[in-house]
Amino acid sequence: MKYSIFSLARAALSGHKTWKPTWRDAAPKDRYDVVIIGGGGHGLATAWFLASEFGIRNVAVLEKGWIGSGNAGRNTTIIRSNYGLPGNTGFYELSMKLWERMEQDLNYNAMVSQRGVINLYHSDAQRDAFARRGNTMRINGIDAELLDQAALRKMMPFLNFDNARFPVQGGLLQRRGGTARHDAVVWGYAHAASELGVDIIQNCEVTSFLRDTNGKVSGVETSRGRIGAGKVGMAVAGSSSRVAAMAGLRLPIESHVLQAFVSEAIKPLLPNVMTFGAGHFYVSQSDKGGLVFGGDIDGYNSYAQRGNLPVVEDVCEGGMALIPMIGRVRLLRQWGGIMDMSMDGSPIIDKSPVDGLYLNAGWCYGGFKATPGSGFVFAHLIARDQSHKEAARFRLDRFQRGAMIDEKGQGAQPNLH
Protein backbone atom coordinates (compact mmCIF):
# COMPACT_ATOMS: atom_id res chain seq x y z
CA MET A 1 0.00 0.00 0.00
CA LYS A 2 1.04 3.60 -0.56
CA TYR A 3 1.49 5.82 2.48
CA SER A 4 0.38 9.44 2.43
CA ILE A 5 -1.38 12.00 4.58
CA PHE A 6 -4.63 10.73 3.10
CA SER A 7 -3.95 7.06 3.91
CA LEU A 8 -3.06 8.17 7.43
CA ALA A 9 -6.30 10.14 7.80
CA ARG A 10 -8.38 7.32 6.31
CA ALA A 11 -6.88 4.72 8.65
CA ALA A 12 -7.24 7.02 11.65
CA LEU A 13 -10.91 7.67 10.90
CA SER A 14 -11.59 3.94 10.54
CA GLY A 15 -10.05 3.17 13.91
CA HIS A 16 -6.74 1.96 12.46
CA LYS A 17 -8.34 -1.31 11.35
CA THR A 18 -7.53 -0.95 7.66
CA TRP A 19 -3.72 -1.01 7.73
CA LYS A 20 -2.20 -3.75 5.63
CA PRO A 21 1.12 -5.45 6.44
CA THR A 22 4.06 -3.22 5.49
CA TRP A 23 5.65 -5.98 3.44
CA ARG A 24 4.91 -9.50 2.25
CA ASP A 25 6.28 -12.42 4.31
CA ALA A 26 7.07 -14.74 1.40
CA ALA A 27 7.66 -18.48 1.11
CA PRO A 28 10.68 -19.55 -0.93
CA LYS A 29 10.33 -20.32 -4.64
CA ASP A 30 12.53 -22.90 -6.38
CA ARG A 31 14.74 -20.36 -8.09
CA TYR A 32 15.61 -16.66 -8.25
CA ASP A 33 17.87 -14.58 -10.48
CA VAL A 34 19.54 -13.20 -7.36
CA VAL A 35 19.50 -14.47 -3.80
CA ILE A 36 20.71 -12.12 -1.05
CA ILE A 37 21.75 -13.78 2.20
CA GLY A 38 21.00 -11.50 5.15
CA GLY A 39 17.80 -9.56 5.82
CA GLY A 40 19.37 -6.61 7.55
CA GLY A 41 19.50 -3.07 6.23
CA HIS A 42 22.24 -3.81 3.70
CA GLY A 43 20.62 -6.94 2.29
CA LEU A 44 17.19 -5.35 1.95
CA ALA A 45 18.65 -2.15 0.48
CA THR A 46 20.55 -4.26 -2.06
CA ALA A 47 17.36 -6.07 -3.05
CA TRP A 48 15.48 -2.78 -3.41
CA PHE A 49 18.18 -1.21 -5.57
CA LEU A 50 18.38 -4.35 -7.71
CA ALA A 51 14.65 -4.08 -8.33
CA SER A 52 14.32 -0.30 -8.64
CA GLU A 53 17.59 0.75 -10.31
CA PHE A 54 18.89 -2.31 -12.11
CA GLY A 55 15.68 -3.98 -13.28
CA ILE A 56 16.24 -7.30 -11.53
CA ARG A 57 13.02 -8.12 -9.70
CA ASN A 58 13.21 -11.89 -9.35
CA VAL A 59 15.09 -11.51 -6.08
CA ALA A 60 14.90 -13.18 -2.68
CA VAL A 61 16.30 -11.95 0.63
CA LEU A 62 16.98 -14.83 3.04
CA GLU A 63 17.07 -14.05 6.75
CA LYS A 64 17.85 -16.69 9.36
CA GLY A 65 15.88 -14.87 12.08
CA TRP A 66 13.50 -12.00 11.47
CA ILE A 67 14.45 -8.99 9.37
CA GLY A 68 16.43 -6.40 11.28
CA SER A 69 17.14 -8.79 14.16
CA GLY A 70 20.91 -8.44 13.83
CA ASN A 71 22.98 -5.29 13.79
CA ALA A 72 20.30 -3.27 11.98
CA GLY A 73 18.36 -3.34 15.24
CA ARG A 74 21.38 -2.96 17.53
CA ASN A 75 23.22 0.12 16.30
CA THR A 76 23.14 3.69 17.60
CA THR A 77 21.42 5.09 14.46
CA ILE A 78 24.06 7.62 13.43
CA ILE A 79 24.47 8.78 9.84
CA ARG A 80 27.43 10.86 8.64
CA SER A 81 29.96 11.18 5.81
CA ASN A 82 32.96 12.69 7.57
CA TYR A 83 35.71 10.40 6.31
CA GLY A 84 39.16 11.52 5.25
CA LEU A 85 40.64 8.81 3.03
CA PRO A 86 40.10 8.28 -0.70
CA GLY A 87 37.63 5.44 -1.08
CA ASN A 88 35.76 6.26 2.11
CA THR A 89 35.11 9.97 1.49
CA GLY A 90 33.20 9.54 -1.75
CA PHE A 91 31.42 6.35 -0.77
CA TYR A 92 29.99 7.67 2.48
CA GLU A 93 28.89 10.88 0.77
CA LEU A 94 27.08 8.80 -1.86
CA SER A 95 25.38 7.09 1.06
CA MET A 96 24.55 10.41 2.73
CA LYS A 97 22.93 11.70 -0.46
CA LEU A 98 20.82 8.55 -0.59
CA TRP A 99 19.78 9.09 3.04
CA GLU A 100 18.58 12.55 2.08
CA ARG A 101 16.10 11.17 -0.45
CA MET A 102 15.41 7.78 1.09
CA GLU A 103 12.03 8.54 2.58
CA GLN A 104 10.68 9.87 -0.73
CA ASP A 105 12.25 6.97 -2.65
CA LEU A 106 10.79 4.35 -0.33
CA ASN A 107 7.51 6.07 0.53
CA TYR A 108 8.34 5.38 4.16
CA ASN A 109 9.10 7.58 7.16
CA ALA A 110 12.55 6.62 8.40
CA MET A 111 12.76 9.67 10.68
CA VAL A 112 15.98 10.85 9.04
CA SER A 113 17.09 13.75 11.20
CA GLN A 114 20.02 15.89 10.04
CA ARG A 115 20.75 17.31 13.45
CA GLY A 116 24.51 17.46 12.94
CA VAL A 117 27.45 15.34 14.07
CA ILE A 118 30.26 16.91 16.11
CA ASN A 119 33.65 15.31 16.72
CA LEU A 120 35.32 16.99 19.69
CA TYR A 121 39.02 17.90 19.74
CA HIS A 122 41.17 18.47 22.76
CA SER A 123 44.60 19.64 21.61
CA ASP A 124 46.22 21.78 18.92
CA ALA A 125 47.47 18.68 17.13
CA GLN A 126 44.01 17.10 17.10
CA ARG A 127 42.49 20.39 15.89
CA ASP A 128 44.95 20.42 13.00
CA ALA A 129 44.10 16.82 12.11
CA PHE A 130 40.39 17.65 12.19
CA ALA A 131 40.95 20.79 10.09
CA ARG A 132 42.67 18.61 7.52
CA ARG A 133 39.81 16.11 7.51
CA GLY A 134 37.29 18.94 7.26
CA ASN A 135 39.21 20.38 4.31
CA THR A 136 39.29 16.97 2.65
CA MET A 137 35.54 16.76 3.04
CA ARG A 138 34.94 20.26 1.66
CA ILE A 139 37.20 19.67 -1.34
CA ASN A 140 34.98 16.68 -2.07
CA GLY A 141 31.81 18.75 -1.84
CA ILE A 142 30.85 17.59 1.67
CA ASP A 143 29.88 20.09 4.35
CA ALA A 144 32.23 20.53 7.31
CA GLU A 145 32.77 23.32 9.81
CA LEU A 146 35.55 23.64 12.36
CA LEU A 147 34.07 25.09 15.57
CA ASP A 148 36.13 26.78 18.25
CA GLN A 149 35.35 26.55 21.93
CA ALA A 150 33.22 29.71 22.00
CA ALA A 151 30.93 28.36 19.27
CA LEU A 152 30.66 25.04 21.06
CA ARG A 153 29.87 26.70 24.40
CA LYS A 154 26.88 28.35 22.78
CA MET A 155 25.56 25.04 21.43
CA MET A 156 26.34 22.87 24.43
CA PRO A 157 27.09 24.89 27.57
CA PHE A 158 26.89 21.76 29.73
CA LEU A 159 30.08 20.12 28.43
CA ASN A 160 33.01 19.82 30.81
CA PHE A 161 35.18 22.23 28.80
CA ASP A 162 37.89 22.46 31.45
CA ASN A 163 38.47 18.74 31.90
CA ALA A 164 42.05 18.44 33.14
CA ARG A 165 43.03 15.57 30.84
CA PHE A 166 40.93 16.37 27.77
CA PRO A 167 39.91 20.05 27.79
CA VAL A 168 37.34 20.60 25.02
CA GLN A 169 38.88 23.05 22.54
CA GLY A 170 36.26 22.73 19.82
CA GLY A 171 34.86 20.31 17.29
CA LEU A 172 34.45 19.36 13.66
CA LEU A 173 30.80 19.68 12.72
CA GLN A 174 28.99 18.06 9.82
CA ARG A 175 25.52 19.61 9.86
CA ARG A 176 24.10 17.15 7.33
CA GLY A 177 24.96 14.24 9.61
CA GLY A 178 22.51 13.06 12.22
CA THR A 179 20.37 10.06 12.99
CA ALA A 180 17.70 7.84 11.41
CA ARG A 181 15.23 5.44 12.95
CA HIS A 182 17.05 2.13 12.45
CA ASP A 183 14.06 -0.22 12.48
CA ALA A 184 12.15 2.01 10.09
CA VAL A 185 15.08 1.83 7.67
CA VAL A 186 14.74 -1.96 7.60
CA TRP A 187 10.95 -1.83 7.30
CA GLY A 188 11.13 0.91 4.66
CA TYR A 189 13.44 -1.08 2.41
CA ALA A 190 11.38 -4.22 3.05
CA HIS A 191 8.20 -2.30 2.17
CA ALA A 192 9.56 -0.81 -1.04
CA ALA A 193 11.36 -3.98 -2.17
CA SER A 194 8.32 -6.12 -1.47
CA GLU A 195 6.14 -3.75 -3.53
CA LEU A 196 8.48 -4.39 -6.48
CA GLY A 197 8.16 -8.15 -6.14
CA VAL A 198 11.16 -9.04 -3.97
CA ASP A 199 10.53 -12.09 -1.78
CA ILE A 200 11.53 -11.55 1.85
CA ILE A 201 11.95 -14.96 3.44
CA GLN A 202 12.43 -15.15 7.20
CA ASN A 203 13.51 -18.03 9.45
CA CYS A 204 15.50 -19.29 6.50
CA GLU A 205 19.08 -20.10 7.41
CA VAL A 206 21.57 -20.89 4.68
CA THR A 207 23.34 -24.13 5.50
CA SER A 208 25.50 -24.63 2.40
CA PHE A 209 26.20 -23.37 -1.10
CA LEU A 210 25.22 -25.36 -4.20
CA ARG A 211 27.83 -25.52 -6.94
CA ASP A 212 27.49 -26.48 -10.61
CA THR A 213 30.03 -28.61 -12.45
CA ASN A 214 32.28 -25.59 -13.07
CA GLY A 215 32.35 -24.74 -9.37
CA LYS A 216 30.05 -21.74 -9.87
CA VAL A 217 27.56 -21.09 -7.08
CA SER A 218 24.15 -22.14 -8.37
CA GLY A 219 22.06 -21.70 -5.25
CA VAL A 220 21.85 -22.35 -1.55
CA GLU A 221 20.66 -25.13 0.71
CA THR A 222 18.57 -23.65 3.51
CA SER A 223 16.54 -24.63 6.54
CA ARG A 224 13.49 -24.10 4.28
CA GLY A 225 14.77 -26.16 1.40
CA ARG A 226 16.93 -25.82 -1.67
CA ILE A 227 16.83 -22.48 -3.52
CA GLY A 228 18.44 -22.05 -6.92
CA ALA A 229 20.05 -18.75 -7.86
CA GLY A 230 21.76 -17.14 -10.81
CA LYS A 231 23.87 -15.10 -8.39
CA VAL A 232 24.23 -15.09 -4.63
CA GLY A 233 25.18 -12.03 -2.60
CA MET A 234 26.01 -12.17 1.07
CA ALA A 235 25.37 -9.22 3.40
CA VAL A 236 25.73 -10.89 6.77
CA ALA A 237 28.15 -8.64 8.65
CA GLY A 238 29.05 -10.22 11.98
CA SER A 239 28.80 -13.70 10.46
CA SER A 240 30.69 -13.13 7.19
CA SER A 241 33.50 -15.53 8.07
CA ARG A 242 31.03 -18.31 8.94
CA VAL A 243 29.03 -17.96 5.74
CA ALA A 244 32.14 -17.53 3.59
CA ALA A 245 33.62 -20.67 5.16
CA MET A 246 30.73 -22.65 3.62
CA ALA A 247 32.18 -21.63 0.26
CA GLY A 248 35.71 -22.53 1.38
CA LEU A 249 36.85 -18.92 1.85
CA ARG A 250 38.88 -17.34 4.64
CA LEU A 251 38.42 -13.58 5.04
CA PRO A 252 40.58 -10.77 6.49
CA ILE A 253 37.94 -10.32 9.19
CA GLU A 254 37.49 -10.99 12.90
CA SER A 255 34.12 -10.90 14.69
CA HIS A 256 34.05 -8.66 17.75
CA VAL A 257 31.34 -7.50 20.12
CA LEU A 258 30.35 -3.84 20.38
CA GLN A 259 28.08 -2.70 23.19
CA ALA A 260 25.53 0.10 23.10
CA PHE A 261 23.45 1.73 25.79
CA VAL A 262 20.30 3.75 26.26
CA SER A 263 19.31 5.75 29.32
CA GLU A 264 15.87 6.49 30.69
CA ALA A 265 14.10 9.30 28.80
CA ILE A 266 14.92 12.83 29.83
CA LYS A 267 13.86 16.26 28.52
CA PRO A 268 15.60 17.51 25.35
CA LEU A 269 19.27 17.99 26.16
CA LEU A 270 21.56 17.11 23.28
CA PRO A 271 21.01 19.09 20.07
CA ASN A 272 23.10 16.76 17.90
CA VAL A 273 25.30 13.69 17.77
CA MET A 274 28.54 14.12 19.65
CA THR A 275 31.66 12.00 19.66
CA PHE A 276 34.32 12.15 22.36
CA GLY A 277 36.88 9.90 20.73
CA ALA A 278 39.60 10.65 23.25
CA GLY A 279 37.33 9.38 26.02
CA HIS A 280 35.80 6.44 24.11
CA PHE A 281 32.29 7.86 24.25
CA TYR A 282 29.71 9.07 21.76
CA VAL A 283 26.12 10.02 22.33
CA SER A 284 22.90 11.33 20.83
CA GLN A 285 19.39 11.71 22.20
CA SER A 286 16.54 9.77 20.69
CA ASP A 287 13.25 11.47 19.90
CA LYS A 288 11.77 9.50 22.80
CA GLY A 289 14.27 11.23 25.10
CA GLY A 290 16.74 8.47 25.95
CA LEU A 291 20.46 9.10 25.65
CA VAL A 292 21.78 6.58 23.13
CA PHE A 293 25.48 6.04 23.59
CA GLY A 294 28.44 3.75 23.19
CA GLY A 295 32.20 3.55 22.98
CA ASP A 296 34.84 1.07 21.93
CA ILE A 297 34.41 -2.57 21.02
CA ASP A 298 35.21 -4.98 23.84
CA GLY A 299 38.38 -6.03 22.06
CA TYR A 300 38.27 -9.83 21.92
CA ASN A 301 36.79 -12.17 19.29
CA SER A 302 33.17 -12.89 20.04
CA TYR A 303 30.01 -14.22 18.47
CA ALA A 304 28.03 -13.76 21.70
CA GLN A 305 25.72 -10.77 21.36
CA ARG A 306 26.72 -9.49 24.77
CA GLY A 307 29.82 -7.86 26.21
CA ASN A 308 31.56 -7.50 29.54
CA LEU A 309 31.71 -4.96 32.34
CA PRO A 310 35.11 -3.26 31.82
CA VAL A 311 33.80 -1.60 28.66
CA VAL A 312 30.53 -0.64 30.36
CA GLU A 313 32.57 1.12 33.02
CA ASP A 314 34.89 2.73 30.46
CA VAL A 315 32.01 4.09 28.38
CA CYS A 316 30.12 5.44 31.37
CA GLU A 317 33.30 7.06 32.71
CA GLY A 318 33.74 8.75 29.34
CA GLY A 319 30.19 10.07 29.50
CA MET A 320 30.65 11.36 33.03
CA ALA A 321 33.95 13.03 32.15
CA LEU A 322 32.36 14.92 29.26
CA ILE A 323 28.87 15.65 30.60
CA PRO A 324 29.01 15.48 34.41
CA MET A 325 25.30 16.42 34.66
CA ILE A 326 24.18 13.04 33.27
CA GLY A 327 25.68 11.23 36.26
CA ARG A 328 22.32 10.66 37.90
CA VAL A 329 20.51 9.52 34.77
CA ARG A 330 19.76 5.81 35.03
CA LEU A 331 20.81 3.30 32.42
CA LEU A 332 17.76 1.67 30.88
CA ARG A 333 19.15 -0.98 28.56
CA GLN A 334 22.45 -2.25 27.28
CA TRP A 335 23.13 -4.76 24.53
CA GLY A 336 25.79 -6.10 22.18
CA GLY A 337 26.11 -6.69 18.46
CA ILE A 338 28.69 -8.61 16.45
CA MET A 339 30.95 -6.51 14.23
CA ASP A 340 32.78 -7.67 11.12
CA MET A 341 36.11 -6.08 12.07
CA SER A 342 38.24 -5.99 8.94
CA MET A 343 42.01 -5.77 8.88
CA ASP A 344 42.08 -2.10 7.84
CA GLY A 345 38.81 -0.88 9.34
CA SER A 346 37.11 -0.50 5.95
CA PRO A 347 34.48 -2.64 4.24
CA ILE A 348 34.79 -5.21 1.46
CA ILE A 349 32.35 -5.05 -1.45
CA ASP A 350 33.60 -7.30 -4.18
CA LYS A 351 33.15 -10.44 -6.21
CA SER A 352 34.45 -13.36 -4.19
CA PRO A 353 37.04 -15.78 -5.61
CA VAL A 354 34.13 -18.22 -6.04
CA ASP A 355 32.22 -17.58 -9.26
CA GLY A 356 28.65 -16.42 -8.66
CA LEU A 357 29.21 -15.40 -5.02
CA TYR A 358 29.40 -11.71 -4.10
CA LEU A 359 30.74 -10.28 -0.85
CA ASN A 360 29.46 -7.38 1.21
CA ALA A 361 31.36 -7.54 4.49
CA GLY A 362 33.80 -5.98 6.92
CA TRP A 363 31.68 -3.02 8.03
CA CYS A 364 33.36 -2.86 11.44
CA TYR A 365 31.16 -0.72 13.72
CA GLY A 366 30.14 1.67 10.93
CA GLY A 367 27.65 -0.24 8.84
CA PHE A 368 24.43 1.60 9.67
CA LYS A 369 25.33 4.92 8.06
CA ALA A 370 26.42 3.00 4.96
CA THR A 371 23.10 1.18 4.52
CA PRO A 372 21.75 2.95 1.42
CA GLY A 373 25.17 3.40 -0.20
CA SER A 374 26.11 -0.19 0.47
CA GLY A 375 22.84 -1.44 -1.02
CA PHE A 376 23.31 0.70 -4.10
CA VAL A 377 26.91 -0.23 -4.90
CA PHE A 378 26.36 -3.90 -4.03
CA ALA A 379 23.35 -4.04 -6.34
CA HIS A 380 25.51 -2.38 -9.01
CA LEU A 381 28.21 -5.01 -8.53
CA ILE A 382 25.77 -7.92 -8.67
CA ALA A 383 23.82 -6.57 -11.65
CA ARG A 384 26.77 -5.44 -13.78
CA ASP A 385 29.62 -7.62 -12.49
CA GLN A 386 31.62 -4.46 -12.06
CA SER A 387 32.39 -2.32 -9.00
CA HIS A 388 30.62 1.02 -8.76
CA LYS A 389 33.23 3.78 -9.01
CA GLU A 390 32.63 4.89 -5.41
CA ALA A 391 33.27 1.33 -4.19
CA ALA A 392 36.17 0.55 -6.50
CA ARG A 393 38.66 0.62 -3.63
CA PHE A 394 36.72 -1.77 -1.39
CA ARG A 395 38.24 -4.78 -3.12
CA LEU A 396 39.00 -8.02 -1.34
CA ASP A 397 42.51 -8.20 -2.80
CA ARG A 398 43.54 -4.76 -1.50
CA PHE A 399 45.32 -6.36 1.47
CA GLN A 400 47.47 -8.37 -0.90
CA ARG A 401 48.16 -5.33 -3.04
CA GLY A 402 49.02 -3.12 -0.07
CA ALA A 403 46.13 -0.79 -0.91
CA MET A 404 44.56 -0.70 2.55
CA ILE A 405 42.10 2.01 3.56
CA ASP A 406 43.15 2.43 7.16
CA GLU A 407 41.36 5.52 8.46
CA LYS A 408 42.86 5.17 11.94
CA GLY A 409 46.32 4.06 10.84
CA GLN A 410 46.30 1.06 13.16
CA GLY A 411 47.56 -1.68 10.87
CA ALA A 412 46.32 -5.26 10.65
CA GLN A 413 44.94 -5.46 14.18
CA PRO A 414 41.13 -5.56 13.91
CA ASN A 415 40.38 -4.81 17.56
CA LEU A 416 42.17 -1.46 17.31
CA HIS A 417 40.15 -0.04 14.42
Binding site: S241, R250, G299, Y300, Y303, A304, Q400
Partner: protein, 91 residues
Protein backbone atom coordinates in the same frame (compact mmCIF):
# COMPACT_ATOMS: atom_id res chain seq x y z
CA UNK B 1 34.79 -12.69 32.04
CA UNK B 2 37.62 -13.41 34.49
CA UNK B 3 40.90 -15.00 33.53
CA UNK B 4 42.82 -17.28 35.88
CA UNK B 5 46.40 -16.21 35.28
CA UNK B 6 48.76 -19.15 35.99
CA UNK B 7 51.12 -16.70 37.73
CA UNK B 8 48.69 -14.33 39.52
CA UNK B 9 45.46 -16.25 40.03
CA UNK B 10 41.95 -15.15 39.05
CA UNK B 11 41.87 -11.54 37.83
CA UNK B 12 39.26 -9.31 36.23
CA UNK B 13 39.20 -8.77 32.49
CA UNK B 14 40.32 -5.13 32.65
CA UNK B 15 43.85 -6.24 33.56
CA UNK B 16 44.29 -8.08 30.26
CA UNK B 17 44.86 -7.03 26.67
CA UNK B 18 43.87 -9.13 23.69
CA UNK B 19 46.09 -9.95 20.73
CA UNK B 20 44.06 -12.55 18.84
CA UNK B 21 44.07 -16.05 17.45
CA UNK B 22 47.14 -17.98 18.63
CA UNK B 23 47.14 -20.22 15.57
CA UNK B 24 48.85 -18.10 12.88
CA UNK B 25 52.59 -18.81 12.79
CA UNK B 26 55.06 -16.33 11.33
CA UNK B 27 56.31 -17.88 8.09
CA UNK B 28 60.03 -18.28 7.40
CA UNK B 29 61.70 -15.27 5.79
CA UNK B 30 61.84 -16.94 2.36
CA UNK B 31 58.24 -18.20 2.43
CA UNK B 32 56.98 -15.76 -0.18
CA UNK B 33 54.25 -13.13 -0.28
CA UNK B 34 51.25 -15.44 -0.18
CA UNK B 35 52.36 -17.01 3.09
CA UNK B 36 52.94 -13.58 4.64
CA UNK B 37 49.55 -12.36 3.42
CA UNK B 38 47.93 -15.40 4.97
CA UNK B 39 49.75 -14.88 8.27
CA UNK B 40 49.10 -11.15 8.57
CA UNK B 41 45.59 -10.83 7.16
CA UNK B 42 43.59 -14.04 6.96
CA UNK B 43 41.81 -15.47 10.00
CA UNK B 44 39.72 -18.55 10.71
CA UNK B 45 37.54 -16.30 12.92
CA UNK B 46 36.30 -19.36 14.78
CA UNK B 47 32.78 -19.51 16.16
CA UNK B 48 33.44 -21.89 19.03
CA UNK B 49 36.50 -22.94 21.00
CA UNK B 50 39.54 -20.90 20.06
CA UNK B 51 43.09 -20.67 21.35
CA UNK B 52 44.21 -17.07 21.71
CA UNK B 53 46.92 -14.80 23.08
CA UNK B 54 46.23 -12.43 25.96
CA UNK B 55 48.69 -10.14 27.76
CA UNK B 56 48.46 -9.65 31.51
CA UNK B 57 49.51 -6.00 31.47
CA UNK B 58 47.80 -5.20 34.78
CA UNK B 59 49.58 -8.02 36.59
CA UNK B 60 52.61 -10.16 35.86
CA UNK B 61 53.01 -8.83 32.29
CA UNK B 62 53.24 -12.35 30.92
CA UNK B 63 51.77 -13.50 27.62
CA UNK B 64 49.12 -16.16 28.10
CA UNK B 65 47.51 -18.73 25.86
CA UNK B 66 43.82 -18.83 26.68
CA UNK B 67 41.36 -21.42 25.38
CA UNK B 68 38.00 -19.69 25.15
CA UNK B 69 34.65 -20.26 23.48
CA UNK B 70 33.77 -17.26 21.30
CA UNK B 71 30.07 -18.17 21.36
CA UNK B 72 29.75 -18.18 25.16
CA UNK B 73 32.97 -16.48 26.45
CA UNK B 74 33.61 -19.59 28.57
CA UNK B 75 37.30 -20.10 29.31
CA UNK B 76 38.40 -23.71 29.56
CA UNK B 77 42.18 -23.40 29.93
CA UNK B 78 44.88 -20.80 30.55
CA UNK B 79 48.56 -21.53 30.20
CA UNK B 80 51.69 -19.47 29.74
CA UNK B 81 52.34 -18.68 26.09
CA UNK B 82 55.44 -20.22 24.60
CA UNK B 83 58.43 -18.74 26.42
CA UNK B 84 56.39 -16.74 28.97
CA UNK B 85 57.95 -16.64 32.43
CA UNK B 86 61.04 -18.47 31.21
CA UNK B 87 63.27 -15.46 30.45
CA UNK B 88 66.62 -15.52 32.18
CA UNK B 89 69.02 -12.67 32.68
CA UNK B 90 71.70 -12.93 30.05
CA UNK B 91 69.82 -15.70 28.23
Amino acid sequence: MRIVCPFCGERELGEFTYLGDAKPQRPPADAGEDAVYDYVYLRDNIAGVMSEHWYHGGGCRAWLKVTRNTLTHEISAVEPAAGAGSAKVGA
